[in-house]
């Protein structure tokens, strides 16, 4: 009987993970293991620490609320090693339409266009600067309706 009990205790100690039951009915060590995974998206605070000129541009338009990696993709590797990891050039024809292509399910107040009609085949950055998308209009080029206001 004693031998069986000792065998059980020894076997249990060998089989059950050390941290099992630390926080509940699971392996407590799994929590730091999952937390240790490396990140892919650096976060806009990291981007803005270096690219202050872009932040200044964005502050002038509505895209100030758009996080950098929403368009530029995951940039943690670039943030770790800016010299050798360069972000790829972006295709505005694809990127802009992802958000701004007209769709009846989008909020009504959100700016939307039917790109085929709107741009006449030109890429978006022909007219719009992505970090500050509103086009500056000279007074003489303003539409009549807007000039009356």
């Amino acid at each position: 009987m004693l031998i069986a009990l000792v065998a059980f205790v020894v076997l249990r100690a060998a089989v059950v993970p050390r941290s099992f039951g630390q926080y509940g009915h699971y392996r407590g060590a799994a929590i730091p293991e999952i937390a240790a995974r490396p990140i892919a998206f650096a976060g806009h605070d990291t981007c803005e620490a270096c690219h202050t000129d872009v932040v200044d541009q964005k502050k002038q338009g509505k895209h100030i609320v758009v996080p950098c990696e929403a368009c530029h993709g995951a940039q943690a590797r670039h943030a770790d090693d800016p010299a050798s990891v360069t972000p790829p050039k972006l295709d505005t024809a694809v990127l802009c339409s992802r958000c701004h292509e007209a769709n009846s399910a989008k909020p009504k107040a959100f700016p939307q266009v039917a790109t085929a009609d709107h741009s006449g085949g030109l890429t978006c950055d022909t007219c719009h600067q992505p970090h500050r998308p509103k086009i500056d209009m000279q007074p003489e080029t303003k539409p009549a309706t807007e000039a009356k206001k």
Partner: protein, 242 residues
């Protein structure tokens, strides 16, 4: 005190438990991160969602989600004027590449979905080996090295948020980017959301703006009748959303 056979038998189980405890140590997720100081949740503002799919793409890249599987996805609802109880729901490729235009009448809107990180999760209750659990800071996680791949949890989740990873044959789900939030960052989906439709929230932080938002808005959770204690709060959710 004499050690009799009876006393030795009584002491052995207690000694085994004590030995386990001593060996366990006190692992923390990150050096400065305290598990007991947080209680994570998410706020989804449906009227702000533009269905761009940024969250789905970011989640896949951040967490190495296999192609064709989704830890988060977007659904487009179409509720015809005369068919209010039977909405048409679609989610092509999880909304990863956005949605094709649909200029139709009725009510149309997007609903982002993910694991609701329930307090009383049906998925954790059915796991036969303790491979899935709610952490002390309120996140439902899967211990891949302990999961058998029995699929009980996949069936138990009322929100369809779990799947079996075809590479590892273990259960997989949204971790609320646990590797990010424990480092002081927000989740990948919240990080890239261009319209602010998704917000990570810490319910234990009295300064978190979610408290003011919950006070001033009518907020719901998915399937409240399931009493799962879901912690993904939806603002502006239509009654047709399932």
């Amino acid at each position: 005190m004499d050690i009799t056979r009876r006393r030795l038998l009584m002491l052995l189980p207690a000694a085994a438990v004590a030995w386990n405890y001593v060996q366990a140590g006190t692992p923390e997720a990150s050096p400065n991160y305290k598990l007991t100081e947080h209680w994570w949740a998410m706020l989804i503002d449906i009227p702000k969602c533009i269905g761009c799919g940024s969250c789905v793409r970011a989640c896949a890249e951040e967490n190495d989600v296999p192609e064709g599987y989704y830890r988060t996805w977007i659904e487009r609802y179409h509720v015809a004027d005369w068919k209010i109880e039977k909405p048409e729901v679609e989610s092509p490729n999880g909304g990863k590449q956005g949605f094709p235009p649909n200029e139709i009448g009725g009510k149309n809107f997007f609903v982002p979905k993910l694991c609701n990180h329930c307090v009383d999760s049906p998925c954790t209750q059915v796991c036969p080996v303790g491979a899935t659990f709610v952490t002390p800071d309120g996140v439902v996680l899967v211990d891949k090295s302990y999961c058998l791949g029995c699929r009980y949890c996949v069936q138990a989740c009322p929100y369809g948020c779990r799947f079996i990873n075809p590479k590892t044959n273990t259960a997989e789900k949204c971790t609320l980017c646990y590797h990010r939030i424990t480092k002081g960052l927000t989740t990948a989906c919240c990080e890239v959301c261009p319209s602010g439709a998704r917000q990570l929230a810490d319910l234990k932080n009295p300064k978190d703006p979610i408290h003011e938002f919950l006070k001033t808005h009518t907020v719901q959770v998915l399937k409240p009748h399931m009493a799962t204690g879901a912690k993904v709060f939806y603002n502006g959710m239509d009654g047709s959303v399932r």
